[in-house]
C-alpha cells in the first residue's frame, strides 16, 4: 500500500509540473500583454505579475487598420471556407459510403493516392498562378477545400449510421434526396459541427498557403501579419509590419506583440470547450495528421 501512495504522490506532482510547464508560456504571454507599458519598461521586461494592469496595448492593436483587416480576412476564411469545405467533403464522403455507387472503389483509390503522394509545392503554385488566384483570397480556400483524411474520417462516420434507418425511410416512401436531407443530415449535425470546428481552426491558422499565394499586405490573413509583428522585428531591429504598429507611440514592442498574440488566440480559446467535446473524433485526426 505504501508503494502505491508514494506512486500517486510522485505521479500527481509530475503531472502538475507538466501542466504548469504547458501553462506558463501562455500565462506569461497573457501577463505581458496586460502589463502597463511604463511598468514593463521600468522592470525591463521582468514581469511575472503586473502591479498595474493596462489595456493600452490592446487599444492600440485594435485601432490599427492592418490588424483589423487581417482579422477580417481570417474571419472570412474561417466562415466561408469552413462552410464550403464541409459541403464538398461531406457530400463526397456520403457518396463514397453508399455501397451501390458503381464508381465507389476507383474514386476511393483516387482520394487515397493523394494522401500518399504529393507533387510538391511548385506544381501547386503554378496551378494557382495559372488560375489567376495569386493575391486572391480564394487561393487560401479553394486549394484547401478538402483532404483525403477528412474524406475518409467523414466516410467512416457515415458508414457508422445503421443502414436500418435508411431502409425504414425507403419503406416510408422517401427517395434518395429525402433520405439525405431528412434523415442523414439531421442525424449528422453534431458530427458536422465537430468537423466544422476543426476546419475553422485550420482556416484561422492558415499560414503556409498565404506565404505562397499572398504578397499583397492588404490581403494578409492574421497569421502572416502576426509573423511580421512577432518575428521579423525580433531578428532584425525593425520589421516592416511591426514598424507600422510600434513606432507611432512609445509603447514597448513586447506588450504590443503579446496583445496581438492574445487577440489572435481568443477565437480558438472560445471554441476550445466545444472542440474538447469532440476529442473522440479528434483522436483519429491527431494520430494521422501526426
Amino acid at each position: 500500500m505504501k508503494e502505491s501512495k508514494l506512486f500517486d504522490v510522485v505521479n500527481v506532482t509530475l503531472l502538475a509540473l507538466i501542466g504548469l510547464a504547458t501553462l506558463f508560456p501562455l500565462y506569461y504571454v497573457f501577463v505581458v500583454s496586460f502589463t502597463d507599458p511604463s511598468e514593463y519598461i521600468a522592470k525591463q521586461g521582468f514581469v511575472l505579475f503586473p502591479e498595474k494592469w493596462s489595456i493600452l496595448s490592446y487599444k492600440y492593436i485594435l485601432s490599427t487598420d492592418s490588424y483589423l483587416r487581417a482579422t477580417g480576412v481570417s474571419a472570412f476564411l474561417a466562415t466561408i471556407g469552413t462552410v464550403l469545405s464541409l459541403m464538398v467533403t461531406a457530400s463526397l464522403a456520403y457518396g463514397l459510403s453508399r455501397k451501390r455507387l458503381k464508381i465507389r472503389k476507383p474514386l476511393m483509390l483516387m482520394v487515397l493516392f493523394t494522401m500518399l503522394f504529393s507533387p510538391g509545392i511548385i506544381p501547386h503554385y503554378i496551378l494557382v498562378r495559372d488560375l489567376h488566384l495569386i493575391n486572391n483570397l480564394w487561393s487560401l480556400i479553394l486549394p484547401a477545400l478538402s483532404s483525403g483524411w477528412y474524406v475518409f474520417l467523414m466516410k467512416s462516420f457515415f458508414d457508422s449510421i445503421p443502414p436500418a434507418l435508411e431502409e425504414a425511410a425507403m419503406v416510408d416512401g422517401y427517395n434518395d434526396v429525402g433520405i439525405f436531407f431528412r434523415i442523414i443530415l439531421p442525424l449528422s449535425l453534431p458530427a458536422m459541427a465537430a468537423f466544422g470546428l476543426f476546419y475553422a481552426v485550420g482556416y484561422w491558422n492558415t499560414y503556409f498557403n498565404a506565404v505562397l499565394y499572398i504578397n499583397d499586405p492588404t490581403k494578409w490573413p492574421l497569421q502572416i501579419l502576426l509573423q511580421n509583428i512577432l518575428i521579423e522585428s525580433s531578428t532584425s531591429s525593425q520589421g516592416s509590419g511591426a514598424a507600422e504598429l510600434m513606432n507611432e507611440r512609445q509603447l514597448p514592442a513586447q506588450t504590443l506583440k503579446m496583445a496581438a498574440v492574445v487577440v489572435a488566440t481568443t477565437p480558438i480559446l472560445l471554441v476550445y470547450p466545444m472542440l474538447q467535446k469532440h476529442f473522440a473524433k479528434g483522436v483519429m485526426l491527431g494520430s494521422i495528421k501526426g
Binding site: L26, S91, F117, P143, L145, S146, S234, T235, G290
Partner: protein
Amino acid sequence: MKVVTGIRKDLFLYALILPGFLYFLLFKYVPMWGIVISFQEYSPYLGFWQSPWVGFEHFATLFNNPDFLIIFRNTMVISMMNIVFYFPMPILVALMLNELRLKRFQRVIQSVIYLPHFLSWVIISGITFLLLSQSGGIVNKLLVEFGREPYNFLTNPGIFWQLLTAQSIWKETGWGTIIFLAAMAGIDPQLHEAARIDGAGRIRQIWHVTLPGIRNVIVTLLILRLGNIMDVGFEQVFLMMNSAVTDVADVFETYVYRNGIQQGQFSYSTAVGLFKSVIGLLMVIGANKLAKRYGEEGLY
C-alpha cells in the same frame, strides 16, 4: 446504355460527389501533371507544351549539389530526433494520466495539455521568441539574475535541432496522449485485477499489463511515423529559421520554397520536390508492408 441508366438511377449520388470529385481532380491531380516540368527547362512564357526537354539534368544537378547532402541530413536528423525524443512523450504522459485516481484533476490536466495543439506555429514561434530571446527573453533574464551569462538560444546552430524538438514536445505531447488513452481504456480491467491479486505493484502493472495492452497502437504509430520521415513541418522550420542557422535548418520544403518561389527556378525545385515525394511514397509503402507483417492494420 447500362451505364447511363445506372447514372440516372443514382443521379442524386453522382450530383453529391461531383464537387468533391472536381476538387480532387483540379487541385490534386492536375498539379501531378505539372511534374513534367522537372524534366524540362520550364519557362513561364513557353509553358508546359513548348519548354525544352532536358531529361534527368535537374536531378543530376541536385545530386551533385553539396546542398543536397545538407538538406537530406537536416531532414533526417530533425525527423529522427522527433521520433527518439518526442514520440515516447505522449506514451509516458498517457500512462501517468491513466494511473490518476482523481478524475477531476485528470480532466483539468487534459484540458490544459491538449490546448497547444490548436495554436498556430506562428503563435508558438512568437512565444518561443518571447521566452528565449537574448535581450528580452525571460529565461535569459533569469539566467542573468542568477549570475550567469545570457545564452544564445535562437541564432545558435548548435541547439537548433533541440529547439525544434522541444517546441514539438510542448505543442503536441498532450494531443498525442489521446490515442494512447483510448487504447488503454480498451484494456480488460480483469487483467489489472489479476495482476494485483498476484501482488504486482503499480509500476509492475504498468509494465506487464498496460504497456503490452497498447503495444499494437505504439507499433502502428511508430511505423507510420517512420513512413513519414521525409516530412518535416515546413511552417515550424520556416518560422524558426534565420541566417545564422540555415546550415542546420534547411530542409526539402524550405529549399524548394527558396529556389522555386523566391528565385523562380521552377524546374529544378520541382525536381527536388519530386525526389522528396518519391522517397516519401516508397517509405510509406514500406512502412505499411512492415505494419501488416506485424499483424497491424496499416494505413490502407
